[in-house]
Amino acid sequence: MSAEPVTGAGKEPPLLEVTDLVKHFPIRKGLLSRVVGQVRAVDGVSFSLAKGEVLGLVGESGCGKTTTGRSILRLIEPTSGSVKFEGREIVGMPKSELRALRRQMQIIFQDPYSSLNPRLTVGSIIGEAFAIHKTANRKQARENVAELLRFVGLSPDHARRYPHEFSGGQRQRIGVARALAVNPKLIVADEPVSALDVSIQAQILNLLQDLQERLGLTYLFVAHDLSVVEHISDRVAVMYLGKIVELADRVTTYADPRHPYTQALLSAIPVARPGAKKSRIVLKGDVPSPARPPSGCRFHPRCRLADGDRCAREEPALREITPGHWVACHYAEVSALK
C-alpha cells in the first residue's frame, strides 16, 4: 500500500510523516529467554501531521496509541517503518543527531505525579532543558524559567518549590512548561488530562489550546476519551489492536463515523443529559490480546457487521472513501448509522 493518509492542506510538506510504523515487543519465556511470540503493539501505522495541526489519536487500553506516540519520539525504538520530521528520517538516526532533534519534539505525560523528579525543584526540572541543550546560560535560564512559569499560569516564585507541594493540575502545568522550555514544534501529549479532576481537566485543555494558538504548535494528542479529543483536535485517528481503523477530520469522525468500532466507541460514552439514552452499540467481549490478533479484520469477532467470511479472512486496507476520510472496513460504504 503506497498511499498514506495525507492532510487536506497538501501544499506545505507535512511536519511529521509516519509510514508503516511497527513496534513488536518480544515475549520471552524459559531459562534461555527464548522469544516465543510477539506482542504487536503497533502494527503498520501511517499518518501525517501538518504544521499547526492537532491530530487526536484515540483508542482503548492496549490499542497501541501510547506506543505509537513514544515510537515517534524514539523513546521506544520502533521495530520498522519510517518517521520523518521535517523531511528527515528519525528511525535509525544516530543518537547525537537525535538529541539535537528532540529539542523540536517534546512529550507531556499522563501522570503528573510520577513524571516529575521529586528531588528536583521546579526550577531545575524546567531549567534542565537549557543545560542539556546548552541553549541558555544560568542567568538566562533562570529568567526563561520564570517566563515559562508565568506562561503556563503559575508564579515565578514556584521555581524554588518541589513537585510534592503542587496539586495535580499544577504539576501538569509544570510538565507543560518543561516541554515548552526548548521551543518545540511538535508536542506529543500522552493522555495529558486523564489523571486530573473534571474541573482541572478543562483548565489544562484550555491552556494547551491557548499555547497551540499562540505558539503555532503541532500536537499529537493521545487519549482514550473521545469527547476530550473532539474538543481539541482538527483530525482524529481511531486505533484498534495496533492499527488505525479510521482517520478523518473532526466533524466527519463524530457526525459520520464509518468504522463499526468508531461507532461503538462513540455510542458508549455516557452523555451528561438524563433521558438521552441513545441506541447504544454495546460491544461483546473484550479486546483480544495483541499477541494473538484475530485473523482478517482484527475487529471482526466483536463487529456488528462481520459477515463470517471475508471479514475473517481478508484484512481490510485503510482506504479513502471520501476525500480525507480513511476507513479500514470492507463495508465502509454501507456502514453509516442513520
Binding site: 482503548e60 473534571v198 474541573s199 483548565q203 485543555l205 462513540l266 455516557p270 443529559r273 438521552a276
Partner: protein, 359 residues
Amino acid sequence: MSETRTEAGPRAGAPASVQPVLEVRDLRTHFFTDDGVVKAVNGVSFQVFPGETIGVVGESGCGKSVTALSILRLIPSPPGKIVGGQILYKGKDLVTASEPEMRKIRGNDISMIFQEPMTSLNPVYTCGDQIMEAIRLHQGVSKREARSRAIEMLKLVGIPLPEQRVDEYPHQLSGGMRQRVMIAMALSCHPSVLIADEPTTALDVTIQAQILELLERLQAELGMAIIMITHDLGVVAEVADHVAVMYGGQIQEYADVQTLFDRTTHPYTGGLLASIPKLGESVERLRVIPGAVPNPVDFPPGCTYHPRCHLAIDECAKVEPELLEYDPGHLVRCLRANEVRSGRVSPFPGRVAEQSEAS
C-alpha cells in the same frame, strides 16, 4: 420565600408508605491527623429507597468515598472516626452497631464494589473461592451448594464458561471480567443496598458500557438499591434516579436527576457541567472552575466553594450556607440560590445571565 428548612434531609416529604432502606442523617466523619482535623464528611444526609439508584458526584477529596466507607464502618480508626450522625439501615443505627453485628451486615445486607478490581480481589484465591467465602459465611450452606451458587452468580453477571472461570485466579481475567467477578461477589447474598465506588472509572469506555448495562439489568432482576459514587456526570445522568453533588464534605445540591440537569441551581454543579467537553458540541474554549479543590485540613470559612465560585459575594466568606429545600425534593446549599432560580444570575460560570423580562 419558597424554601423550607429540612431537618431529616433530602426527601423527608416522600410518601410515608415507602420506607427508605437506608437513611444517612447528618453524618460526620473526621480524620484526626498530625496536620489537623480533616472534616472529610461534614453533615451529610440522604435517603435511599428500595430499587432506586442514588448518584453521589464530586471530585477527589469531596468526601464521597468516605461517606460510602462510613456506611459500612470501614473507616480506618485511628485516624478516622464517625463523630456524629446516624446511619439507619432498616431502622437500625449502624454507627452504634457492634463489630459482630456489622460483620453480619457487610456483604449480606449492604455490599460494596470498588474502583480497582485488581487490588480488591485477593490474588492468591480463585474467583470461586472468593465468591464462596461470602456465601458460606452469611448463608451457612455447604461447600458444594456454595460452589454451585458461585457458578450461578458468574453466569448472572455474564461471564462466559462460568464452570471454568470459577477455578481461575484474578490475574487470568481482563479488567472488565474482574469487575464482573467483584459484582458477582457483592451480589452473591442478594444485598438490599449495593454501594458502587467508581465501578467503571478504571475501565475502558466500551467495557464501562457493558458494566453499567449489567448493573441496570441486575437491579431490575434483584431489586436492590444502588449508591453510585462517581466523578462522571455522564454516568450519573444515565443511571441515577436522584443525585447528590458533594463538595468539601457536604452535599451542595440534591435533586432528582432530571431537575439537577434541567434546573441546575448550585454554581458548583453548574461549573462541573460547564467544564466537561460535550460530544457533538464544539466550543472555542471550555468554561472552567478556577483554582483547585481546597486542602481539607483547612477549608475556607463560610461556603467551602466560595474561593472558586463565580457568584461569590462578600457574605459567602462569612456565612456558611445551609442546605435548604427550594422545591419539593430539590435542595441547594447556596446563599444566592434564589437569585439563580429567578434567573437573575446563571449557575454556569462565564455565561452571561439572561436578563429577566421584568427588568
